[in-house]
């Protein structure tokens, strides 16, 4: 029965929505900044999945090209973000988001 199902782009969009929601909830729930970063990656992946699903549905290669740019932005974001986490950890010996509530050094 499952094997006979026709997989339309809607299936991929629903999956991307679920993935994005899990990432958003995780970002709000978790306190460890590293895990919060991973949740951002989940949300970016949901966006990528949407782009590629639309590229297939509309026969437009632009959707796949934009995934490359998303990947570059994700890589840059992780590099800078992890550097910030390392800098905070040097100072505070902790990476919990609730403890970093002062803007002065």
């Amino acid at each position: 029965m499952i094997a006979a199902t026709d997989i339309t782009p809607t299936y991929y969009l629903v999956l991307a929505t679920l993935l994005f929601t899990i990432g958003a909830v995780g970002l709000l729930v978790r306190r460890n900044t590293l895990v919060m970063f991973m949740c951002i990656e989940l949300m970016l992946n949901a966006a990528n999945l949407t782009f590629v699903a639309y590229a297939r549905a509309l026969n437009d290669i632009s959707g796949q090209v934009i995934v490359f740019f998303t990947l570059v932005v994700a890589a840059a974001e992780v590099a800078v973000g992890l550097a910030i986490i390392v800098a905070i950890f040097r100072r505070r010996q902790d990476v919990t988001a609730d403890d970093v509530d002062l803007l002065k050094g």
Binding site: I2, A4, I7, Y11, Y12, L15, T17, L19, F20, T21, I22, A24, V25, V29, R30, N32, L34, V35, M38, C39, E41, L42, N45, N48, L49, V52, Y54, A55, R56, L58, N59, D60, I61, S62, Q64, V65, V67, F68, F69, L71, V72, A74, A75, A76, E77, A79, V80, L82, A83, I84, V86, A87, F89, R90, R92, Q93, D94, T96, L102, K104
Partner: protein, 191 residues
């Protein structure tokens, strides 16, 4: 066949995503993230995006997850994870807001289609399933050449910023040393 692959991959992706959020240990979270990324890569293959799937594995599953694991092991943050929640209504509110986001996406996606719902009459992306590197490269280096150049600048900025931030000698010559923020402040490392 396509349906079976889709449902198996969807299960893997969602299980990995839940694992990222629910795992207590950051190392486990990173490994669950890897599961999700590989599942998404297989879905890219299903969607006739072979090159994107390969890049997903190379950049995300290798580089980014390894970077996460490096930082986790470097900092040793997997030892203590506080399980207590300081704000009482934080978690229920987060779940409610997350579900609100999902409802918003579904409602908006159901009503506002700026791309049009009809299938395009352009040529299929990858009819022979042999990879579409040529077409992708042609689009990337003609239509999106400026975006491509700007991503190069962005990467340089990110590398320089990462080096500057993670450098050990963070204190400038004239600036006074920062005052201790709380009682458990450890000794500052002078460079």
């Amino acid at each position: 066949m396509e349906a079976a692959v889709f449902f198996v991959c969807a299960l893997v992706v969602l299980a990995g995503a839940f694992g990222v959020v629910l795992a207590r240990n950051p190392v486990h979270s990173a490994l669950y993230l890897l599961t999700t990324l590989v599942g998404v890569a297989v879905l890219f293959l299903q969607l006739h995006a072979a090159l994107v799937a390969a890049i997903q594995i190379v950049v995300y599953a290798s580089a980014i997850v390894v970077l996460f694991l490096f930082v986790i092991t470097l900092l040793g943050v997997d030892r203590h994870e506080t399980l207590s929640e300081p704000h009482k209504f934080q978690r229920p509110a987060a779940v409610v807001f997350g579900l609100l986001v999902a409802v918003q996406i579904i409602v908006l996606a159901g009503r506002h289609w700026t791309t049009g719902t009809r299938p395009s009459d352009r040529a299929p992306l990858d009819p022979e399933r042999t990879g579409n590197v040529e077409r992708l490269a042609r689009s990337l280096f003609t239509d999106y050449i400026w975006a491509f150049e700007i991503t190069a600048v962005l990467l340089v900025i990110a590398v320089v910023g990462g080096v500057v931030l993670a450098r050990r000698s963070g204190q400038r010559a004239g600036a006074p040393p920062p005052a201790p923020v709380d009682a458990v402040e450890t000794v500052e490392q002078d460079a």
